[in-house]
Symmetry: C2
Subunit: 232 residues, 2 copies
DNA sequence: AGGAGGCGACCGAACGTTCGGTAGGAACTA
DNA sequence: TAGTTCCTACCGAACGTTCGGTCGCCTCCT
């Protein structure tokens, strides 16, 4: 499933998407030119436009597919979960795992929403998809509080704090660290349950095979240079 | 201390910095033009260059002063703290508070390092300053582990996870929420101590007057439009 | 024959940056 | 007091470059 950016026989659309997620994550959308993309896939800027309607449409497409993938996977996993504590554990674990395993895609997802023209159809669509996702968190927290399992001062604050803990994973997680992905997720689940004052439970680790696997996420994404911690 | 961007009698350098932090945080450095800055302070693009050597120097200056301010404040606060648990609590609380109170400045600090030319003197200087700051975290965690107070699987992972929880605050905290800043900080300290398996302690809330107050952070920063959660 | 894929050349606009010039005031001299 | 000389702050115009995007043509493959 690895994608060779320079292979002219590969699917061009897929190669462009792969290059886009790489460069958008590394330099940011605004600082990446169509010519940069072309250089990465061995094409001219004009060639890119044979496969893509516009630079912004490329970003929107990327974000839409990625967010949709997360939504689908989340709903698949939640389908078998019962109590709010179980659901919260699943939400935390899966969001963390997705960010750890797809750091480039998720960095674009989380950080480039502002690059879509406000009010455009694409922008509104991504926001709507994100709302659908966040509704799972909102409902889980509300259910837990209503049922007496959770005790939180401010549901919105708790949700955003936990989500930002999970999404932050894409900025620092490396698979060659001392902790496995499973350990990180379990750790975060423990922290999350503590944050809502729910009793820590023996967590059945989530089935990672249900998580979305973005085909354009390069296998060596974790070795991609990052501006910080460059020499550590 | 509030700064009127359009007041021609105000200090021009200060006005430009204020506009820069606003626009860089809102649109990103790459998507902000010198002409945008000029428009914000009622100057032409040429006028800006009378006060600023280059666009990148403006960003570097901003980041350097901000990071230096955080470093100084952190060292002032740590000077009176003893045990690793106290020091960790201070680090968590102060980093959270700085991000909550200066969301625009901290978003630029945390997210625009990649916009500085890699290898340039300015880039290296910011990284060095950041290293100095992170060393406080590293040492605190190492001391706690060595002394038996903390029990963590992976110090680097723990540090980065906790720091990203704190820095995430700038993305969602609003002073008009259900929780005060003090409550958020206390909550995060509790979570952080749980993450290192240290006994939760009665936290003496940090002295927020020691925290850096960036003069260019607009007083209505929390009302500045953000791409996500726009309609919530 | 004809469509898919791609190239070179090009467009208008915007970019960061530079340059010559100027209004206004302070400072000094006659 | 009047005149000369600076200096700070800024503007209008332009520099060369790069931007996102378009157009026509060529070359394969079917």
């Amino acid at each position: 499933m690895i994608i060779d950016l320079t292979d002219p026989d590969g699917d061009a659309h897929e190669r462009i998407r792969t290059a886009a997620v790489l460069l958008f994550a590394r330099q940011g959308y605004a600082a990446t030119s169509i010519r940069d993309l072309g250089r990465a896939v061995h094409m001219t800027n004009a060639g890119i436009y044979h496969h893509v309607a516009s630079k912004e449409a490329l970003l929107a497409d990327l974000m839409r597919v990625a967010q949709q993938g997360l939504n689908d996977a989340t709903e698949r996993m939640l389908a078998t979960a019962g109590a709010p504590a179980d659901r919260l554990a699943l939400l935390i674990g899966s969001l963390t795992a997705v960010h750890a395993r797809n750091p480039l895609t998720t960095r674009v997802m989380d950080g480039e929403l502002r690059s879509l023209t406000p009010g455009s159809a694409a922008h509104d669509e991504i926001i709507a998809l994100r709302d659908v996702y966040e509704a799972h968190w909102r409902r889980t927290l509300a259910d837990g509080v209503a049922g007496g399992t959770f005790r939180v001062a401010d549901q919105k604050l708790t949700r955003l704090a936990l989500m930002s803990m999970c999404t932050g994973t894409s900025e620092w997680y490396r698979p060659d660290g001392d902790s496995t992905l499973e350990q990180v997720c379990a750790e975060f689940v423990t922290i999350g349950l503590a944050a809502v004052r729910a009793p820590a439970q023996v967590t059945t680790s989530p089935d990672y095979s249900l998580l979305p696997d973005f085909p354009w996420e390069p296998p060596d994404a974790h070795n991609d240079p990052r501006p910080d911690e460059a020499r550590r």
